[in-house]
């Protein structure tokens, strides 16, 4: 337990982890949808900070821009456009909720147990290749991962077209 | 070979022909509503008649050309169909292969004979002739091909084809559709074929050497003679056979199907279709798994005896002819099963005789009673009585069928029953004694039914005015009776052929 705080890195990690888990607890605790969304935004920002801490600068920035920025904003729009006063029901210990809780809890137990039981070979000395790496990531994207890159662009196109078609109002609906 | 191919392929071709020919529109018939004998679809039944006559003639040639005491499959021919790959350079080649030996020739001939008779003796209602003829020819082809098959896959496919054709035959008769009976038929026999297919695949797997799965009977029995097969394979086969043969307690589909069936379908069901199971048991169970058959002989014998007795009692308490015929058929099959369990050549011979004669007797019963049914529209004993005065010919045939059924000497059933019981006394005397009692029961219920129908008091005057069977109706009955007698008086040629098959079932005792 001593090595916990032996380095600034791990101290920072545990603080971040605490923040993230706290936000997650709040997410589970809140009743109002809008608060839940805010808690989720906090988790995303925490994750981005974690990526930066781990030295994955590009991923961290992407996380901030896409999750914490775009998706959270999109989420706010969606909540405002729909029923923004919505709340989760307080009592509901329905079967679905119970099963979901049980399943998630079991999965968590199994996961944590397995992670703990496994001996992880951790390389303490990090190859500098993996840090400050935007240009290398770019090279990889266009060499080894060309095909998925192209496919992802198709995916974004499809999602764009589909989302626009599904969400747009038709003339009859506007008249209502 | 050519004659076997011809005998097999004619019904198939004829069936295709029936399906391909256009259905004549019923509008021709609007004028002549009351024309039971001249239907607009008459030519279809003639296709069936011609086709089955060709097969019938070929059958005689086959009997003449059959070499006695030869234990190879004769008239054999085959062609390759396709291969299932089992891995690198490992294949299961599936062939369509046909051939006959002493075991299959008699049953094959039974199918041909009854099929031929069906087309001459039975005429379904006018608007259904096309459908009926098409399915019936297909069913006959399927059942003939399952007897003549000498390759596992050919057998399996023919069995499945029988299922299909039988289902539609039971379904499409009379004014309304018989969904319950047809579905029951499909479920029970479908389950039966599941078990049999599993058993046969298990057999092939057990006989596999170096990744090659044998599928031809000859190779299988040669390989398996020296190797044991897991017991579960035999048990699967046995359960399949019990379902297929409608043995108690899995029998309920059979009387139900018989109850609603038209005469032609009933003859097919009772005369031929319920004989395939025992054939499979002798062919695969005794022929290829002699060790297991020996281990389970007590079980087989017990099931056989139970069937013999139970079905006899059920037949005794039957309220109408159809039910009586179905249960008497089950009862005979019980005796045949017992005869198989003796695992001796005489017993096998007895079983084979029983199979054939039970087919003949059931057909004779069914066709004769159909003649009565046409006039009375009922076959319940409570509505019959004293028919010997108004319908002497019909009563005569009925009496003859009953005598055949109870095993009167000079009929083929006698030969079968005698040999079965005789063989039984040598191996399982206690069981044989019970079987003898069961035969007494069969005498009781047949004669009881005859007494109620033909003799006894005349219930009402309409019964007195019934016309007797015409020549067209009675000659098929005469042919059946002739064969029944022929096999009883001169069993030897038949037995010689059959024995040639049992010689190479080397596991059998004397």
């Amino acid at each position: 337990m001593v090595h916990f705080f032996s380095h600034g890195d791990s101290l920072a990690f545990y603080v971040l982890a605490l923040i993230i888990l706290l936000s997650a607890m709040l997410f589970l605790q809140f009743r109002k949808v809008i608060y839940m969304a805010l808690a989720m935004g906090a988790i995303f920002v925490g994750c981005a900070a974690l990526f930066l801490l781990l030295g994955a600068v590009f991923v961290g920035i992407a996380q901030v821009m896409i999750y914490a920025g775009a998706i959270t904003i999109l989420m706010m729009f969606a909540i405002m456009l729909t029923n923004h006063e919505a709340t989760e029901s307080v009592s509901a210990f329905g079967i679905r909720k119970g099963l979901a809780a049980l399943g998630a809890f079991l999965l968590a137990v199994i996961l944590l147990f397995t992670i703990r039981a496994t001996h992880w070979r951790q390389s303490l000395v990090v190859n500098t290749d993996t840090q400050h790496n935007v240009d290398k990531i770019g090279f990889m994207l266009f060499r080894q991962y060309t095909i998925p890159f192209e496919l992802v662009s198709l995916l974004l196109l499809a999602a764009l077209v589909g989302a626009v078609w599904i969400a747009r109002q038709t003339k009859e609906e506007k008249q209502d | 070979m050519a004659f076997l191919l011809l005998a097999l392929i004619t019904p198939l071709v004829a069936s295709l022909l029936v399906w391909l020919l256009p259905a004549s529109s019923p509008s021709n018939n609007v004028q002549g509503l009351k024309q039971p004998h001249r239907s607009h679809e008459d030519h279809f039944i003639w296709i069936g008649r011609v086709a089955m006559s060709i097969s019938f003639l070929c059958m005689f040639v086959l009997w003449i050309k059959m070499r006695l005491l030869s234990d190879v499959y004769q008239f054999a021919f085959s062609f390759r169909w396709f291969q299932f790959s089992l891995g690198f350079h490992q294949h299961w080649t599936l062939r369509i292969a046909y051939g006959l030996d002493g075991l299959s020739l008699p049953l094959f001939s039974l199918a041909v004979l009854l099929g031929w008779i069906i087309f001459f003796a039975v005429r379904p209602p006018g608007e259904q002739i096309r459908v009926y003829t098409g399915w019936m020819l297909l069913a006959l082809f399927a059942v003939m091909s399952s007897f003549a098959a000498i390759d596992l896959l050919t057998f399996i496919l023919s069995m499945e084809l029988t299922l299909l054709a039988g289902f539609f035959l039971i379904l499409r008769q009379g004014k309304e559709q018989h969904w319950d009976a047809a579905l029951q038929f499909l479920l029970y026999r479908g389950l039966a074929s599941v078990f049999i297919i599993l058993a046969l695949l298990g057999l092939a797997a057990a006989a596999s050497r170096g990744g090659l799965w044998p599928a031809s009977y000859a190779v299988l029995s040669a390989v398996l003679f020296h190797h044991s097969v897991p017991h579960i394979v035999f048990l699967a086969l046995f359960i399949g056979v019990l379902l297929e043969e409608a043995f108690v307690p899995l029998h309920s589909w059979f009387p139900n199907a018989m109850q609603d069936a038209g005469a032609g379908v009933a003859v097919l069901l009772a005369g031929i279709l319920t004989k395939t199971g025992l054939y499979a048991l002798i062919r695969f169970g005794v022929g290829m798994m002699p060790q297991d058959a020996n281990d389970y002989r007590l079980l087989i014998a017990t099931v056989g005896i139970i069937n013999l007795l139970y079905a006899a009692f059920a037949a005794w308490s039957a309220k109408d002819w159809r039910r009586l015929i179905s249960f008497s058929s089950i009862s005979h099959m019980g005796l045949a099963l017992f005869a198989v369990a003796t695992l001796r050549q005489t017993g096998m011979l007895g079983a084979l005789f029983l199979l054939v004669s039970s087919g003949l007797v059931s057909a004779l019963f069914l066709l004769t009673s159909e003649g009565m049914f046409k006039r009375l529209h009922s076959l319940e004993f409570s509505r019959l009585g004293g028919l010997s005065k108004s319908m002497p010919i019909a009563s005569g045939f009925l009496l003859f069928a009953a005598l055949g059924s109870l095993g009167l000497p000079l009929t083929s059933s006698f030969v079968g029953e005698f040999q079965s019981i005789f063989s039984g006394f040598a191996v399982l005397p206690g069981f044989a004694f019970v079987a003898l009692l069961g035969l007494l029961l069969s005498a009781i219920y047949s004669l009881n039914a005859i007494r109620k129908t033909t003799f006894g008091p005349v219930l009402d005057s309409t019964l007195m005015q019934l016309a007797d069977l015409r020549w067209l109706e009675s000659w098929p009955l005469a042919v059946l009776s002739l064969f029944l007698l022929l096999l009883g008086i001169l069993p030897n040629p038949f037995a010689q052929v059959a024995l040639s098959a049992f010689h190479h079932l080397r596991a059998l005792g004397g």
Partner: protein, 106 residues
């Protein structure tokens, strides 16, 4: 900064807990928007895993980070479609509840 002194199992455990919270949210929450965001949480925790492995794993290399970039992109596309369906659905029911999206009672 050439070394990172963060214990790998702790990062994995954090990811595991977040994943399970996301799973619970996705399966149990009534608000469809929250359900969708919970999906994102699951994917995000996968990203933590990937980035952690790419820096602290037995074979550190950039593939994990590239993988996580793909994940982020795909997640964005998925949630866009999800929100579109929620909006369209809201026009029918004036509600964005999962229970209302369940007209088939099994």
């Amino acid at each position: 900064m050439t070394t990172v002194h963060i214990p790998l199992p702790s990062v994995l455990a954090l990811a595991a807990i977040l994943f399970c919270i996301g799973l619970y949210g996705a399966l149990s929450k009534r608000s469809l928007i929250i359900v969708l965001v919970s999906l994102e949480l699951m994917l995000s925790s996968v990203n933590i895993n990937l980035v952690a492995f790419s820096q602290l794993g037995a074979f550190p290399n950039l593939r994990g980070q590239v993988f996580s970039l793909f994940t982020i992109t795909v997640a964005a596309a998925e949630i866009a479609v999800g929100f579109a369906i929620v909006l369209a659905f809201f026009r029918f029911r004036k509600s964005a509840d999962a229970d209302d999206a369940n007209s088939q009672k099994r």
